[in-house]
Symmetry: C2
């Protein structure tokens, strides 16, 4: 069994990578990271560092041009600022009726499709990716939902001639549960990167910094990256 | 209602474009063409000419790098030759057990996903694309099947926060039926391009040249492009 892991360099996908390596061996795992114009492009260095740690092949590709028409606040060219509030507060504002401002239009569908094209060429049987329950809550990121994952999995299976599947091991877990799993597996979280601002240090106030801090706190451990 | 049409410059997608224009008006239609390393890159000039004919906005994007690992015979960098036989003969060879050699891994899934990202940014409500029954037969192109189309449509609907749908008006029609529809709509087929070889003139022997010739013949009309 050969696995391609969509690897952003964050906590969720790095844990997915660790799971794949522990299950199938590093020689059967490929990590794929994608630049798409994100402000926190430095997450890709983290993705590379984690792949190096696990001694797996690391591929990267650039889809920046696709998103040139989007005004998502996650994108470098956007004039929108990344919210400094928690996701709960952001969802209160959107009333759960539309995605949050850092949603990048159909990003996960695009990443999975591109990963499928590459996985088929590199003779992989399955794609792992790190979506989780928190991100889907309140319609924040609709491309993290169970419904999206199920449909996309069927599309990739059918459209590949039944050669390729996807697996979202954390689709029903929250970030604290992912970190718990990752701590058991010994994931080097100090190598990962989450903050959407992409500065020298995590900003500590964007939605993903807050989520990360809570996940570590709930597991009673110190986040070496934040405390650096 | 605003429509983004995936436009390759061939018969099927040009007819889909004509349908969209006739239904919603040219000001509500955007054509999107994609280079992905295909040998017949000149189909994109055809896409542009058809968009110009209908006076619709024409966008293009380049996904060539994604397919660098693929050895599909449709791709310029491949050492594989495009088969000179009909699809029936090609399917006889594959026994309908795997895609034909011109299948590009998960191409339609990738094109639709990318189109979805752009459509959401350009405030479109629906994506039209030109897959049809002949291409799905015998597993030749699994990313043209009813099953793929249904799942991909659900993935895009769910993953976009229920903002975007896809429509494949010809998914249950053959090419002759598409040409019949296009002739009624006055599609300028002389501007379109089908041949996979991408030479000065259509080769006449690749699967898609044969399909095109048969579709015109069954409608009792002359293909001005082939007879040029």
């Amino acid at each position: 069994m050969r696995v391609l892991v969509l690897s952003s360099g964050g906590i969720d996908s790095s844990t997915a990578l660790a799971m794949a390596v522990s299950k199938f061996g590093n020689e059967n795992v490929i990590a794929l990271s994608v630049s798409y114009g994100q402000k926190h492009l430095k997450e890709l260095e983290a993705s590379e560092a984690v792949a190096k740690h696990y001694n797996v092949e690391h591929l990267s590709t650039d889809l920046t041009k696709i998103f040139e028409y989007s005004d998502s606040s996650l994108l470098k060219h956007s004039t929108e600022e990344i919210p400094k509030t928690s996701y709960e507060e952001q969802i209160n504002e959107t009333k759960g009726e539309k995605p949050v401002s850092t949603y990048v239009p159909f990003r996960n569908g695009i990443l999975l499709s591109v990963a499928a094209g590459i996985a088929l060429s590199k003779e992989c049987d399955v794609i792992y990716y790190g979506i989780h329950k928190d991100d889907a809550a309140g319609s924040a990121y609709p491309d993290c939902s169970v419904e999206f994952n199920d449909a996309m999995g069927r599309a990739i299976y059918e459209g590949s001639g039944k050669q390729l599947k996807i697996e979202a091991p954390f689709v029903k877990m929250n970030k604290a549960e992912i970190v718990k799993k990752g701590l058991e597996l010994g994931v080097p979280y100090e190598l990962t990167w989450s903050c959407y601002e992409g500065g020298d240090k995590p900003c500590g106030v964007c939605g993903t910094c807050r989520d990360r801090a809570r996940a570590f706190k709930e597991n009673g451990v110190v986040d070496l990256l934040a405390d650096d």
